[in-house]
Structures are given as C-alpha cells and as structure tokens.
C-alpha cells in the first residue's frame, strides 16, 4: 500500500459520533484525535458512559463515525464500502470483549480456528494455527473443551487467541477483565504483557485502573473527549516497600 506514511498503525482525527437529533442529540464521541504507533500498548480509561466503547467500535470498523477520519494499517476505513470494511475487520483487527463472545457449542480450538476459516484459510492451516495460539495462551491442554467447561480467565484467553488468529495489525479490547476476579485478571494481564513483548499493537478501553496502569500510554476520557494523557513507562520509584508499610 502506497499510503502508509508513518509508523502509526491506527490513527483517528476529528472523530465524532452522534446519536439522535436536535435537543435529544448525544455526542458519544466528541472530537477525538489519536495516533497509535506499531507495538504500542495504549489504554483509554474513563467512567462508564464516557464514550470509550463507542470509540473502540469506530476504530475497529464496527460502526461508522458521524464525522472525522479513521486510518487503520495505513488505509482510511471510515468511508470504504461494507464489503471492504468487513474484510478489514477480519484481517487487520482482533477484538476482545468483556463477555468473551465465544460460541458455546464449539470447543476452544474450534472457536479459535473459526475466524481463520472465515478469512479463507484452509482447514488444515486454520487448525494448526489455532493449536499454536492455544499453546501460546497456555491452554493447549484445554483445546477440546467447550467454553462452559472453562473458567472465566480461561475463556478470555481463548477469546484472545481467537483475536490473534489472523495476525491482526491491532488488538482492540473492550473491558477485557470486567468479568474476571483478580487471579484471572492477572492471567490476562500477563498474556497482554507477553503480546506486548512480541510487538503486538494493543488498544484497551477500560474503567479498571489496574489494566490501565500496565499500558505504555494512558489516556483519560470524559464526556466523549480525551482530557489527559500520561506516559507510564520509565524509571520505577522503588517505593513498593513503603507502600506496604516497610521502611527501607
């Protein structure tokens, strides 16, 4: 593609999404500019209703903006046709949702291979890749299990394996630990960390400060707009002991 101009793999400018008309109009996303570089983990954090899920839908091509541009993998997607958009969603984006959205009647490995099959891979290739991915998320021994036989944390790891199935440019996660207890949250965070180390670009929207704190860059969102941005990488304070009440 000739129009890949820079290192950013996901970019939005002047993004707006409005629902309703006149006095009842709601601006769910109200003028967002965003630039995510390849390999970066970005968290967008805000209270429920701040527009972060809508934003994620716009960025992943699940919904179209009222105004503004979305560029994904070097291609502008906000105006392309339905078929082309569906193709971008299948190939360039991996989605992870709070409620997992696994098919209950399919086993873990069948859930993971499904998106590769839909993208036109051969059954043999799709299966081999699905098995590899389940191994990567630490669930090789659960490949033949139905979702109902897995814990919440395991289901979310299957969903993450599925999101990786087509080697997406970016993984978009919407409140990925919202349904998990703290041990399962830790499992998912460890997995995201290993994806990050492998160079996967990741955008997470959440109200959970715990996930947000693991990102490279944290954006605060309120009333449809970005209000603050913090880079969290860099030196550590070495204050953990003090936080637990231990003096030096």
């Amino acid at each position: 593609m000739s129009d890949i101009a820079d290192a950013s793999v996901l970019r939005a400018s002047g993004l707006r999404k409005e629902y309703g008309k006149g006095a009842g109009m709601v601006r769910a996303v109200d003028g967002v500019d965003l630039d995510v570089a390849g390999g970066e983990t970005v968290a967008v954090m805000g209270p429920s209703g701040c527009g972060k899920s809508t934003l994620l839908h716009l960025l992943g091509g699940l919904d179209r903006p009222s105004d503004g541009e979305v560029w994904l993998a070097g291609r502008r997607i906000d105006r392309i046709g339905e078929k082309a958009l569906a193709r971008m969603r299948r190939t360039a984006v991996g989605f992870v949702f709070q409620a997992f959205h696994l098919m209950d009647e399919l086993t873990a490995v069948e859930n993971v291979e499904l998106s590769a099959l839909l993208a036109g891979r051969s059954p043999r290739t799709a299966r081999r890749r699905a098995v590899d991915l389940l191994e990567r998320v630490g669930l090789a021994d659960r490949a033949g299990f139905l979702p109902s036989a897995l814990s919440g944390g395991q289901r979310q790891r299957v969903a993450i394996a599925r999101a990786l199935s087509n080697e997406p440019t970016v993984v978009l996660a919407d409140e990925p630990t919202g349904n998990l207890d703290s041990a399962a949250t830790l499992e998912v965070l460890r997995l995201f960390e290993s994806l990050h180390e492998a160079g996967q670009t990741l955008l997470i929207v959440t109200h959970d400060s715990r996930i947000a704190a693991t990102a490279d860059r944290l954006i605060s969102m309120r009333d449809g707009a970005f209000v603050d941005e913090t880079r969290l990488t860099g030196g550590t304070s070495g204050q953990l002991g003090a936080l637990a009440g231990l003096e030096g």
Partner: protein, 175 residues
Amino acid sequence: MRQEVVLALLAKEPSHGYDLRARLREALGPLGEDMNPGQVYVTLTRLERSGLVESERSTGLADRPDRKLYALTAEGQQRVAGWLAEVSWPKPDLAEFHLKLVAAAAAGLADPLTIVDTQRRELLRRLREAQRAAMAEPNGSDAALLLEGIVLRLQADLRWLEECERNWNRRGSGS
C-alpha cells in the same frame, strides 16, 4: 516494621537470625529485597535486652561461623499472643490531601484539578510498579497476596481521586 513481627516468627521454633531473614524474604517477595539486612539482627539484640528472647550459641557448621540460636522467653510468648489479638490498621492520611485542595482553591494559589491530576499520575506509576511485581510472582505465593493488597489500596485511592475531580470540576464550573 515492628519488633513483634520478628518475635512472632520465633514462635514456630528456636531459630538463627539467618533463618528468620529467609522467612521474611519469602513472605515479602520483591518487597523483602529492599529490607536492611541488619534489621533482623538489631531487632533480635533489642528483644534479648528486654528479656523477650534468649539465645544460646550453637556450634557452627563447616562453612559457617558459630551463630546464636534465639528462642522466645515466657514473656516473649505472652507478647506474641497479645500482638496477634491486637486490632490495628494503618491510617492513610487523606485529610492532608483533602485540606490541600481546600486551601489551594480558597487562596486561589493553585487549581485543585491540577493537584488531583499530578497526584493521579503518581499513584498510577506506583500502581504500575505494584502490578508488574504482582505479575512476576507465581500464583498463590505469600508475596503475591501482599502485592494484591497494595494494588487494591492504590485502586481505592485512585477512585477517591476521581471523586475529588468530579467535585472540584463542578465547583470550578460554578454549577
């Protein structure tokens, strides 16, 4: 760290200072690494002086010099029992931060929202550090549980900062 912690560790069996240090480090994980290595020995000496522990010299192994083996005295045992039954909890100093915002706003010296933002960034950095340490611990380790406590407290503080922001935002906009 209170003397009673070292005292209570001795309740299991008479031990060398070295063993107590090892047990502390295991329970504290990465937090134990910051501990002053001499602290246990200093504490044991103080405890012995106040009659809560007693020591005898044990014969050294080939690769180690002679070491003192410490044991609780009857008084020490009583102190441990009292400490275990005691109800205490650290007091976070929320009032100071709250009054900082109140005073800054009243005097027009600083924007309370800027103070909240700065504080939030600092807490997020600490949360990141605690979270990373927790991710590096094996599931179910004693140290992981302690780190989880730090993470949860920081999350609670961050939630309170959200409330502070909402409150001062509203006042600032005059509604």
